[in-house]
Subunit: 393 residues, 2 copies
Amino acid sequence: MTSSFHPPQRTLMGPGPSDVSPRVLQAMARPTIGHLDPVFVAFMDSVKELLQVAFQTANPLTMPVSGPGTVGMEACFVNLVQPGDTVIVCRNGVFGGRMRENVVRCGATPVVVDDPWGRAVDPEKLERALEEHPQAKLVAFVHAETSTGARSDAQLLASIAHRHGCLVIADCVTALGGIPLKVDEWGLDAVYSGSQKCLSCPPGLSPVTFGEAAVKVITGRSTPVQSWFSDMTLIMGYWGSAQRRSYHHTAPVNALYGLHEALLILREEGLENAWARHRRHHLALKAGLEALGLAFVVPEAERLPHLNSVSIPAGVDDAKVRGRLLEEYNLEIGAGLGELAGKVWRIGLMGHSCNLTNVLRCVGALEAILESEGAPIATGVALEAARAAFATA
Amino acid sequence: MTSSFHPPQRTLMGPGPSDVSPRVLQAMARPTIGHLDPVFVAFMDSVKELLQVAFQTANPLTMPVSGPGTVGMEACFVNLVQPGDTVIVCRNGVFGGRMRENVVRCGATPVVVDDPWGRAVDPEKLERALEEHPQAKLVAFVHAETSTGARSDAQLLASIAHRHGCLVIADCVTALGGIPLKVDEWGLDAVYSGSQKCLSCPPGLSPVTFGEAAVKVITGRSTPVQSWFSDMTLIMGYWGSAQRRSYHHTAPVNALYGLHEALLILREEGLENAWARHRRHHLALKAGLEALGLAFVVPEAERLPHLNSVSIPAGVDDAKVRGRLLEEYNLEIGAGLGELAGKVWRIGLMGHSCNLTNVLRCVGALEAILESEGAPIATGVALEAARAAFATA
């Protein structure tokens, strides 16, 4: 590629990134200013305030980590976990497994509570693990498993952990902005998210928030954090009070312009309205997919509205269908990940991607391609089913 | 801030970020596509190829780390340093100190070779340190010290290190694109840089490159890398061959659009031409600043052309002058950092910021403000001195 890159105009209905609003893209193209410019320092405070709204928290230590969600995950673990600690990790998909990896690399001992991929974390199993491992200091779980579309009861899991004297790290990468997430009300001690899911920013930033108990652990550590970059005691001086800002690293200025605009859009809509919008369009998509004859992987009560995993019909070529969707319809849906690779499609309805046009586009395109591939689906009924479900939702 | 953020249009002549070309800003505003989209995967290869040109290397493991320069620094250290290793760290400014921090957090022993802030690393001191510490495995130094404007002889330091059987980690954050940097010819084993200096992208990406010997160390480690995110054995599968790309994290898609465009601009100009341009405008700026009566901190032979540290004249209020430059001229210059805080200004001429208009803007604005602040400077001669130096450079 020896000339400027002009990406195709896709419709992004995979597990993220989601479609980015033109408002956000425009914001990112505004002139770069210095990261220590007083105007930028004031702007950082605004980003923090908007993130506090999105997270439903008053935590002062709330900000976007300057890296993708995986860096936010690492920031939570390396700051809260010390060598020798025991950490309960609930694993019901890829990202629980990644949490376990983080625990190991912190020199701590993970106790893994496994649940089937595609199911929520079982609170009773967590309870038992905590009873068996009273020395545990932390419980880590994924609120919205991006690899499966399963939603766990973050509030309940946190209350169980707290009852056993543990702090909680919650992966809310795919939850934030899509389903109810109430950091303070639920008492989530450390939470990380991502910019490219229901916030509909480009990927590259990881909003995090740490509660008082977590901050106490961080400032009371007896060993230094193994990562200089992610050491929150240093980052606090950078994202802390605007009056005492000290240089730590160079913030990704333009990416933050985009995040700010995306958070404004979310606040304009209202969190509850955004949650309801994801729910309503999920019902329309569900009606359409089920009318085609596609089966959901996750039981209804444990399902994320905005990440819909369906089983690939027998005899259908996974990669070929996704390739045709991309080439013929400019439509991206997600492949399965880990043990679900080749078995499921993950259809996202996140943030700016979550609208009726996209629901109908996706159902219609899948119908046309699956029919032409000879898949055993019902034809001629799915679009109407989606429309009808939307009307009554 | 309850509405969209509209940053002022600054002229960025600090230590980075530098002014971003409209071409790069426009590239970043193009539609986001999926990070596993075949079109994006091919695009990643193009980014790698352009980075290889910029770094003057054929290293296959050359790519932008998804985080600011500090993350690139950390990627080099956590992958190459194992617990118990001895690492020689040359420290002649803030970033040498940060390298030392990284060594400590890897569980290794740093041997610090100190040189005065504002001077190059002394090769003889490095030689002596290597003789005294034959167990050392690595030598780390900063090619272009962003905190002082000093330039060290990366080629010579690398050859000394290699003679003693050590690999080299070089901080080329501020070097890349501004001064000669020849990774393969000089045998630099691991190099990290930043997007927001002479490449003139927004901050947030850290180009890195690892040579064959470094890759051998990484793949032969007996202990896992302490950071899951920065573990190059995992990242190799993501940024490696397009045929075998495996998910690791979600790349910052739009930031990479910007980097690609910036690397294209650099290749269009030609590396040698870019180096010459920085040199020529440095001579103009130097003539102007010296005509005002300002004194350079770094001896001429050790000076970076694109980061000019000058002593703040006695009796002048550092913060007030910088504030007035920003408010009255929309011009950002850099403050001193670390032990030079309050004592120097750092004037950058990096990438897109490096042009005659900016040289004259900066010299003229400094003259006007210093005069009105009653500083003991020469007036009425500096602009002509800068112009004359440019004409003959």
